[in-house]
């Protein structure tokens, strides 16, 4: 019984480490772009601070350059937030 218990828990622990390692981001903080209707433009500042992606629809918010084309990175609606999300949007109803 003890062996079975040890086996089950070992599988869970090792799987957690393996899964966390396997699903780590391949690109660390890539340069993001948004589509302004005519061209891809660099985003304003960092995610959550200078810009946000407001969910609610399935549109593409930001893109990254993968070497040959722009591919979707975040979904939602791109929104520039001067001063961060705190001032503009973070007001609870």
């Amino acid at each position: 019984m003890k062996r079975i218990k040890l086996l089950i828990m070992s599988v869970a622990i090792l799987s957690s480490f393996a899964a966390a390692y396997a699903t780590r981001p391949k690109v660390w903080s890539p340069q993001e772009y948004y589509w302004n209707g005519a061209a891809y433009v660099m985003v304003n500042g960092t995610w959550g601070q200078g810009f946000g992606c407001i969910s609610g629809n399935a549109t593409s918010c930001t893109y990254i350059w993968d070497g040959s084309s722009y591919v979707q990175y975040r979904s939602g609606t791109y929104q520039v937030i001067p001063g961060g999300l705190t001032k503009e949007l973070k007001t609870v109803k």
Binding site: K5, A12, P25, Q49, K90, V92
Partner: protein, 150 residues
């Protein structure tokens, strides 16, 4: 008895798998996790506290569940955190906040908020099942000890 022990062990393993994975994922991609936290609808004032509190408590709770002596405390901790996450998910889905933020944390970020709710409810149920099984086991062991003295 044997089946119940295996069930308890599987429940514990699933809870450890979830929290250890999400806790580690947050530390592996810490800058993104911080940004995700800033993108949540509550004040950025909480970010420095939450970015440490959430992954650390997830890993500590996993450790509590791994060891049999502290397992019950781990189950309660797991239930407490999962209930908090579920309440937050319900508030987001009920449009309590002005906007719907991203759902974050490893591959779980790919779930929609509705899927997130069912996912959380499943783990709330698992935590409750774990508490019930562990308490039964605890009281049985007390009874056996008492009977051995009689």
């Amino acid at each position: 008895m044997f089946k119940r022990q295996i069930l308890l062990e599987c429940v514990s393993a699933l809870l450890v798998l979830l929290f250890l994975y999400t806790g580690l994922s947050k530390f592996i991609d810490f800058p993104s996790f911080k940004d995700d936290m800033n993108n949540q609808p509550f004040s950025n004032f909480w970010t420095p506290f939450l970015i440490w509190f959430i992954p650390c408590s997830e890993i500590i709770i996993s450790a509590l569940i791994i060891f049999e002596r502290t397992r019950l405390y781990g189950f309660y901790g797991h239930l407490f955190l999962m209930v908090l996450f579920t309440i937050y998910t319900i508030l987001v889905l009920a449009h309590f906040y002005d906007y719907i933020p991203c759902s974050c944390g490893g591959v779980i970020r790919r779930l929609t908020w509705t899927q997130h709710l069912f996912f959380n409810l499943f783990f709330v149920a698992l935590s409750i099942l774990g508490i019930i099984l562990q308490r039964r086991k605890f009281f049985k062991s007390i009874l056996i000890t008492k009977n051995s003295f009689v």
